[in-house]
């Protein structure tokens, strides 16, 4: 079909051959074509961060991004890691995931995958973030239920846990 593009994409360690419409977003490809439903559709215009994933799209360093804003075909050959790649292979929770549970940072949970993704990236870059740095890294993720207090506490707890573990 003249509207379609074929390309390869590796998602959470699995290689896929994708056929998608030229304008389809990476989020639509992940959820509707590949059945990868960890990243969520909150707004589809890059304001809520519920679709945040980490990706290496062949254009530089791997980074976090909103999957709803990436035309999927531009990610051809890329490597995408969703929330499913966070945590251990046997379902063990990462320290960030564990902290979100311990601190009550999850209510409806629709924002949680995006927050965990962004928070995991923050702690990889900055193991001892101040509260301000946490906010600066996470203001692309909206939450409507929690008012953010427990989310900030969770990131601080995860950072502290990680620092203590590596001592």
């Amino acid at each position: 079909m003249s509207d379609e593009v074929e390309f390869s994409l590796t998602v959470d360690g699995t290689a896929h051959q994708v056929t998608a419409r030229w304008s389809e977003s990476l989020l639509t490809v992940l959820r509707d074509r590949l059945g990868v439903r960890g990243p969520k559709t909150g707004c589809a215009h890059g304001r809520c961060g519920a679709c945040a994933v980490r990706a290496d799209l062949g254009d530089g360093e791997p980074h976090v991004l909103c999957a709803c804003l990436v035309p999927a075909a531009t990610a051809a050959g890329g490597i995408v890691d969703t929330i499913a790649s966070i945590g251990g292979p046997d379902g063990e929770l990462s320290d960030v995931q564990e902290a979100f549970l311990a601190e009550g940072a999850v209510q409806c949970g629709i924002c949680t995958a995006g927050f965990v993704t962004a928070a995991t990236e923050l702690l990889a870059d900055n193991p001892d973030p101040s509260r301000t740095e946490i906010e600066q890294a996470l203001y692309g993720n909206l939450c409507r239920c929690t008012g953010y207090g427990r989310i900030v506490a969770a990131v601080e707890t995860a950072a502290r846990t990680r620092r203590e573990a590596t001592r």
Binding site: S2, D3, E4, V5, E6, F7, W22, S23, S25, A44, H45, G46, R47, G49, A52, L57, G58, D59, G60, H63, V64, L65, C66, C68, L69, V70, P71, A73, T74, A75, A76, G77, A118, E135, Q136, A137, L138, Y139, G140, N141
Partner: protein
């Protein structure tokens, strides 16, 4: 060319990109997609194909060239948050969100050509120039005047914006914007300053249909920096020079007022930076 389809191309060079565009006249250039994708969703534009610049390596990265900071048009805004220019750093750091900045590009910001886009006042105040490439060669134009109306530029048919050049200077530069909340907001209004050799150049966002600067405003700003004018003089000069929109976000009166306030504050910061007191 990494991928080619009737309605999609993933070129690896500028030349391939230009060819791909020529072959797909109804396709739209997409860099990060952070503006194009919402535009399609909201039906602000229609398109019949994409030519993606993501894999054109030559468009990414910054270099120093003869006193200019030369940034490939496909350079992500996140990379500019550590640029050697303070005004650019400030403008890049408050663009969108941390998730958007990794994909949004300086070229996309320029070509969207909307008066509230984050990087544009800094480019205007700095006297930036733009490299436009086509099959027939490269031309350089000043950023000032490149945007002719909201969403309209002087980019010709068959041309791609390939680099943005910012004159380097010793001096003070800054950017500030106001909105309806404290993070992740489109500028209600914004302002940039470049100050060197005792002079001040200001540029404004959402102060009119295109990014705006004024020699008259700069004269008063320089005088204020020099202690030869009052803050009220600069506010009045700004109010006279701008023609901001009235909409549901803010009134034109508020915008006019806020632009004047931002202008004075930026000049104050320049003065403090130059050791001229607060």
């Amino acid at each position: 060319m990494l991928l080619a389809a009737p309605r999609f191309a993933l070129p690896e060079t500028v030349a391939e990109a230009l060819t791909a565009l020529a072959e797909r006249p109804e396709a739209v250039v997409v860099a990060g997609g952070t503006e194009v994708m919402p535009d399609l969703l909201w039906r602000n534009r229609s398109a019949a194909g994409f030519v993606s610049l993501r894999r054109v390596r030559a468009l990414r990265g910054s270099t120093d060239a003869a006193g200019d900071l030369v940034m490939g048009a496909g350079t992500p805004v996140a990379a500019l948050t550590s640029a050697p220019d303070a005004g650019l750093r400030a403008a890049a750091s408050s663009l969108g969100t941390p998730l958007v900045r990794t994909e949004a590009t300086i070229g996309g910001n320029v070509v969207s050509a909307l008066p509230y886009r984050n990087l544009l006042p800094t480019l205007l105040a700095s006297g930036a120039t733009l490299e436009l490439s086509s099959a027939t060669g490269v031309r350089t134009v000043p950023f000032d005047g490149f945007i002719t109306a909201p969403g309209r530029t002087r980019l010709a048919e068959g041309e791609l914006l390939t680099a943005v050049r910012l004159p380097r200077h010793a001096g003070f530069a800054d950017y500030t914007k106001v909105g309806r909340r404290n993070a992740q907001f489109v500028a209600t209004v914004s302002a940039a300053i470049v100050s060197r050799h005792g002079g001040a150049r200001l540029a404004f966002g959402n102060a009119g249909p295109t990014p705006l600067r004024s020699d008259a405003v700069d004269a008063v700003a320089t005088a204020l920096l020099d202690g030869q004018a009052e803050a009220g003089d600069l506010r009045a000069a700004v109010a006279g020079a701008v023609d901001p929109p009235e909409d549901a976000v803010a009134s034109a009166d508020y915008r006019r007022h806020a632009l004047g306030v931002l202008a004075v504050r930026l000049v104050t910061r320049a003065a403090v930076d130059a050791g001229m007191g607060s």
